[in-house]
Every structure is written in structure tokens, then in C-alpha cells.
Amino acid sequence: MTERITKNMARNIYFGGSLFAILIFAGLTLDTVKQIPHRSNDDQITHSVANGKNLWEVNNCVGCHTIMGEGAYYAPELANVFDRRGGGDEEAFRSYMQGWMAAQPLGEPGRRKMPQFNLSEEQVNDLANFLIWTSRIDDNEWPPNIEG
């Protein structure tokens, strides 16, 4: 098959095809960026949620956990942990998070460990609020079930 394609033809496919792909991708990017605020409830990103995201980052929680399926595969998915552990009740989830973060690491021998991060009560609330906000993102009904 390649005998009939000349070098010039191949080069033109490369330039033309890439340009075409870049244009389509740029258009889709613009549209996506326009739709994200609505799908993610951007208006509900309070100061506390933003701070929670920062804490999520500077403590590298994503180095063990996935969030919406991305990250590491060593520890539970956390985009739906609000539904799993808080049952959809914000107050209950915040107090669960206070208890959980304070109890780490758990002593069970051989079980995977989560470190102690020594966060303040307010910081843990911020993390909880970030996870609550995340759980409400419209992510096309993922994950398949509550276990993540």
C-alpha cells in the first residue's frame, strides 16, 4: 500500500491532517470550557472549597487515592466518599472526616496505611467541603456503584 504513496503525499497528509485535528480540538476546548462552570456548579466553590482543594494538593492525597477515577490506585475513590460515608448528609460527613483524619494511621498490621497529616479542625472541614462539592459534579453517572 505504501508504494503508491509518495513522500510529498505523506507530508501533505501530515500537515493537513494535523491542522484539521488542531482546529477541531480547539473548537471543542472552547465549548467545553464554556460548559464546565455549569456542570461543576462553579458558583458553589466557596472560599472553604477552594482552600480544601489546595490542601488536597499540598498533602498529595492523589498520590494514593483516585478522584473521579484519576490518581493512584492504592486507596479508595474519593469523589463519591461523601455519598459513601456521609450518606448525603453534610454535617454527618464533616464529623466523619474529623474522626477519620484524626484516627490515622490505623494500627491494623499489614493493612495499607494512610499517614497522619496533623491538620486543624478548620482544614479538615475545608477538605470535607471540597469533597462534598466534588461529589456533585456531573460526571456522566460515574462510578458504577457506591464502592467507587
Binding site: 513522500k7 485535528a21 480540538f25 464546565i36 456542570r39 499540598v58 492523589v62 498520590g63 499517614p115 459534579i137
Partner: protein, 458 residues
Amino acid sequence: MKYSSQMVAKPYFIFALILLAGEILFGIIMGLQYIDGGFLFPEIPFNVARMVHTNLLIVLILFGFMGATFYLVPEESERELWSPKLAIITFWVFAAAGVATILGYLFVPYATLAELTYNELLPTMGREFLEQPTITKIGIVIVVLAFILNVGMTVIKGRKTVITVVLLTGLVGLAVFFLFAFYLPENLVLDKFFWWYVVHLWVEGVWELILGAILSFVLIKVTGVDREHIDKWLYLIIAMTLVSGIVGTGHHYFFIGTPEYWLWIGSIASAIEPLPFFLMVLYAFSMAAKRKIDHDNKMALTWAKGTAVMAFLGAGVWGFLHTLAPVNYFTHGTQLTAAHGHLAFFGAYIMILFTIISYAMPIMRGRMGGNCAKAQSVELKGFWLMVIGMLGVTLALTVAGVWQIMLQRFPDSGALSFMDTQAQLIPVYKVRLIFGLMVLVGLLTYFYSFFVKEPAKA
């Protein structure tokens, strides 16, 4: 070796290989932590080991790409490198920044590292693969710019070939997309959307250009096939790469809060992504079949063919396995993702480094026809140990992934929790560890091939 400035490639290659040993060591540490959660805790928590593992991987590939570029660009351009001195400075700056960052991960808690490096001034830390402190990222940009300047000047002033132009396009693309690492919006969805501009558009976009260029260079050298042929194939491969790979980014936009149309656009575009990898296999084998010379360095051609096959398996086959949205719904973020990540990175970007190193190092050591037969036979053993080891790691992770989905994801009721599922998978993780150790033994065997004595010349 035709130009003395090609020698600057040598420290880059050696350092890349040393980092590879470190990378695999940390992989094995994590492989043990998957089996015994208490292993090295709290000294090296899993996330720290993972950062070290993946960051070493990225940095060693960058060192390898730079070494490959410094080796092949003078020869292709038919002139000395613009500034060998700058190339040596870039090496030391990059090596120092890399080592300091890894030591920072290991000896300072991550949150403290963020504070010490003033992350709050320009927050960029804490995302997978982009964990580096902001100043390290700025350092990387400076190093890459100095490198591109050096290479660009050489290319502009010398003979321009399709290989050097494609290589340079890939390198400039690498630098440009890295800039998205500095964009960290408050909105997690927007953050994730542009994070893939770095990660996906690297490995399934511009890096494939670099891969294609290096592969082409080695194929020309060891088969003696005409350039017309090589150029045409290279153009076809990178055309398919960009046509499928750019819009193919959509296979990461299924379940992270981005619009629904990505479900089918991402599936269709990325379903074509295996094609360039398949072309690479045809390319390597047909050039080998048409070869006009029989180079004494047999291993270089073995690595070149191996790269094409393993990249096709890891990226093409294991990528296709989970790239359609209805399948990805169940596989997303499971051990299957890790299976694919391992074979793709190894097959494409580690093996291409072995290919160019296997071709160039003997020449830089004054062995124009490659290493002696004994050294090549040791190298071949290293090749098979590593290749079979990585295939074993991948197959084990594939079993783990499918099993994980069956226990945890698939059932509507009575699904096991994540942690209970993982406990069930421990026997499979033991198999993964054994194959991981085989990879390490393979690498050490490969290292040993460098020290096999050449027979005295008659």
C-alpha cells in the same frame, strides 16, 4: 562518530540509565507495599514512593531524549553542535535540580516542601506526574529552552532533514505543552481538563514525533535503507499520530465533569490511535527486511524492532482495550489503567532509549561496529529479561484489574469495598512483584554488558 560534539550525549545517557535503576527500585518498594501495607511506613509512605517512581521516569526520559538529540542532530545536520559547552551546563543544572527534587520528596513531608518552595505564590504542586515544586518546574522550562536553543541553532545552520525537523517539532511541542503545568485553576474539572494537555498530548502526541525521529535515525544507520523511504514512513506515522491523538485526548474526558459529547468523540478518535503504532511495527520490520547493509551491531536493530512491537502492545493493544467509553466506564482508574501505563511507557519510551543507547554508546566508546559478540549476547539476555518481566507485570496487573472490576465495580448490590477487594488480589500482586524483580535483574544484566571486555584486536 562523525562530529566530536556528539560526545556530549554520553553523560545524558549514563545518567538516564542510573535514574532508571532508581525508578525500578521504587517500583519494587511499592510492589511490596501493595502486599504488606506496613512496609517502610511511615518512613516512605506509598505516595512518596510513587512520586519518586513516576518523576524519575519522566526525568529519565527527558534526559534520554536530550542525549538522543545531541547525538543525532550533529550527524544529521552535518556540522558540530552549536554550543557543546551549553549542553554540558544544561546537563549539570538539570541533574542537580532533579536530584534535589527527589531528595526533597524523600526527606521532607510534601506539605512542608510546598511551603519551603513558596508554592502559595504560584501553586502548581500536588497533581499526578506534576508533583515537582514550582521552582523545579521553572528550572525545567529554562533547561528545555536552553536545550532547544542549542539544537535549534544547529539545525538551522546545518543540513535540514525530515528527521531533524520532526524531532525539533516534537521537542518544541514538549516545551509548549509543559506550560499548562503552570495553570492550576480552582475548579477541579477545569484543572483536570488542562492537566491532560500536558500528560496526554505528551505521550500520545509530541513524544511520538520524537520517538518516530529517533527510531528513523537508528533504522537508517543500521539498515542503510534510503532516506526517501524513511522520510515517507516517518511522515505517515506522525500524520496518523496527530490526526488520532489530538482529538483522542477525549478518551480522558468521559467521567471527569466534561460534556457528554466526549463519550463518543473521544471513543472514535482514540480508537484510531493504535494505527501509528501498528505502522511503526510494519516500518521497523520492512526496513529490516530491505536492509542494504548488515551492521555488526545486531542489538541496535533488535531494540528497534522490540520498541515497535512493545509500543504497539502497550499503547495500541492495551490502550484500545479500555478506550471505548462503555468499557472505560468500568475500567477507569483500576489496575487495568496501571497495566496499560506500564507497558506503554516501557515499550515506547524506555525501549526507544535502549535503542539509541545501544546504537550510540559503543560508537562513543570507539567501537564502530558495535560491542563484541560476547557483550551483545549479554545485552540480549538483558533485553529478554526486561521484556518478559514487563510483560509479566502487565499481565498480572491485567488479571488484577479484571478481578477488581468483577468484585467491586460490576455488581449492583453486594459489591465488595475497595479495601476488601484489594485484600483478595494479594496473590496476583505477588506475581507482579516477582516479574518486577525479573525486570531489575534484566537491567543489571544489561548494565553488566557495558563491562564485558572487548577481545584484543588481532
